[in-house]
């Protein structure tokens, strides 16, 4: 057996007449950074949502570390070790940066039904929260309110929250989308720094970033995986070139 952390077996999803996920089988190896690329509307986010549990496939199976999770709820998958950042920033907008991290820490501790002791000035939780922020290098902005953060900073916070549960697999849906060039460089560095700690499935449009980070790339076109392989193999694949550049017809 290979040491695959995530396995998709002929996963299919239709929205009415539109086939969003067309018989996708995919293997993500433990510890790798795997990029999922494809033109707009190829079904990348739909696929990620099925892996995370926001959507349920019509047929097929999803296995995390050999365990069938096809019908497991989002929160249970998070406990099993899948973290996710969303395409549109998804953090707790009414809270400060540290408070976001503290909620993540509470959740990670599993001690959630505590009704009396104040949470936001609990020294252990504050330390835990700061450690979560430190992982992506944003502990210096812990006191700032999320609504005051720049877009790129929010994306970093979201990555920190996705990592807070110490996931075995992190799904990053366009983490660089809308971020400035400096943020992109910083974010790329942060993600590169996670290599080995956890497995990452990355959706990204910025090809420079993809080729810098990914060890393997899968190409999704109209819901189907048309190619999967090392960056070199992908850049020389004629099918991929056609999909991206268009055929001559």
């Amino acid at each position: 057996m290979t040491s695959s952390i995530l396995e998709l077996r002929s996963v299919k999803k239709k929205f009415g007449a539109l086939t969003a996920t067309d018989d996708v089988s995919l293997n993500i190896q433990k510890g790798e950074i795997h990029a999922l690329i494809g033109p707009n509307g190829a079904g990348k986010t739909t696929l990620i949502s099925q892996i995370f549990g926001n959507l349920t496939p019509d047929s097929g199976e999803i296995l995390l570390d050999g365990k069938n999770i096809t019908n497991t709820s989002v929160s249970d998958r998070a406990i099993l070790g899948i973290g996710r950042s969303f395409q549109i920033s998804n953090v707790l907008m009414d809270f400060s940066v540290l408070e976001n991290a503290i909620v993540a820490k509470i959740s990670h501790s599993r001690k959630t039904f505590r009704f009396f002791k104040p949470a936001f000035n609990d020294a252990d939780l504050i330390d835990g929260g700061l450690a979560i922020l430190k992982r992506v290098g944003i502990e210096h902005m812990s006191d700032r309110h999320v609504s005051d953060l720049a877009h790129g900073e929010r994306r970093l916070l979201e990555l920190a929250l996705a990592l807070a549960m110490q996931p075995v697999l992190v799904l990053l849906d366009e983490p660089m989308a809308g971020a400035g060039p400096e943020d992109t460089v910083f974010m790329t560095k942060v993600i590169a720094g996670l290599k080995g700690d956890t497995t990452i499935l990355l959706i990204e449009h910025d090809m420079d970033v993809v080729f810098q980070l990914a060890e393997r790339i899968s190409v999704l076109v109209e819901g189907a995986v048309i190619a999967s392989g090392s960056p070199n193999e992908i850049s020389n694949n004629t099918l991929v070139r056609e999909a991206y550049l268009g055929s001559d017809e």
Binding site: F115, P118, F120
Partner: protein
């Protein structure tokens, strides 16, 4: 910890302090009627504080919480009808009944959200309302006349005993809320309001927390209703009319829904205006005195429009932060 609570929730403590001293004021100026008004304020304020756990802190717009007040009141009324006068038992029955009912209604209603949740909670409340309207044995539409409950050590017919029983219950509920809102559970509830998807992605099942919050708020409304029955010496389906659910929501929004003290402030202003505005108008514009809502409505709209965060927001700090940290 007590000191910490004193510091964080100044407004609430000041109000409670003034409420404790209020009977001295009414005695000094010989205004016993106002004790009655203030008891009503405390009871509705307590119910609104309970509702605010789901409404303000959990972001669930429940349009049926008067039903739990009604259930609490009927628990007292029906107990007495069958000869059980003990107020402590009546309170216990109210708490258990409202807890179970809150669990069932919450379990069903919280599967929906937004407008559907508003409608389904209203539907449950209306169901209960008409259930009691049709219960001829307990007076149906006409209600059930009852005596004040017998709280053993506290004879509610002695002057001010009822006032201080309600007051101390309000203090207890306030302390529970102050702790609850800042606790891990309270923080998660507010996180769910802020972004349910993120909380789910953190591995928590939002439904569990929402149902728990719903049950706690139902129980608090039930306690308020149980005491309301003694205050009114009468129980009728009127107590759970849908307009009262609306009043509770207006009280919360008026006072400030992200503050523990908000509903109490709202209840004070709402019920005082209800009491004073007609008299005042009678002096100034006698012709519209009966329609005092003409003034009241725009006043409410002004607070909602210009005072983001209700009266507490206008008076207190200007930007909204989670109540867990906010100075209240």
């Amino acid at each position: 910890m007590i000191l910490d609570l004193l510091k964080k929730f100044t407004t609430l403590w000041v109000i409670l302090f003034l409420l404790a001293l209020f009977p001295i004021f009414t005695a000094a100026f010989d205004l016993p009627f106002w004790n009655d008004v203030v008891m009503r304020i405390m009871l509705l304020g307590m119910a609104a504080m309970g509702l605010n756990i789901v409404f303000g802190f959990g972001g669930m717009v429940s349009f049926g919480h008067a039903a739990f007040m009604g259930i609490g009141a009927y628990c007292a009324g029906i107990s007495q009808y069958y000869g059980m006068d003990n107020g402590w038992y009546q309170l216990l029955i109210s708490v258990i009944t409202c807890g179970i009912l809150g669990l069932v209604i919450g379990f069903l209603a919280l599967r929906t959200s937004g407008i559907y949740f508003i409608m389904i909670t209203l539907a449950f409340a209306q169901m209960l309302y008409f259930f009691f309207v049709s219960l001829e044995q307990f007076g149906g539409d006409d209600g059930l006349i009852m005596d004040r409950s017998d709280f053993i050590f506290i004879d509610l017919y002695e002057p001010l005993r009822l006032y201080y029983l309600i007051f101390l219950t309000l203090v207890f509920v306030s302390i529970v809320l102050m702790l609850l809102i800042r606790s891990r559970f309270g923080v998660i509830l507010q996180a769910i309001k802020s972004n349910e998807n993120r909380v789910e992605a953190m591995g928590l099942n939002p439904l569990k927390f929402k149902i728990t919050g719903y049950v706690i708020s139902a129980v608090i409304c039930g306690v308020s209703g149980c005491l309301f029955a003694s205050w009114q010496e009468f129980v009728s389906p009127d107590i759970m009319h849908w307009t009262r659910s609306g009043d509770l929501m207006i009280i919360i929004i008026l006072g400030g829904l992200t503050y523990v003290a908000g509903p109490l402030v709202g209840a004070i202003v709402f019920l005082l205006l209800e009491e004073l505005l007609p008299d005042l108008l009678h002096v100034v514009f006698p012709s519209i005195a009966e329609n005092w809502m003409i003034i009241f409505g725009p006043l409410l709209i002004a607070v909602v429009l210009f005072g983001k965060g209700g009266l507490m927001g206008v008076v207190g700090n200007r930007f909204t932060r989670p109540a867990a940290r906010k100075d209240q």
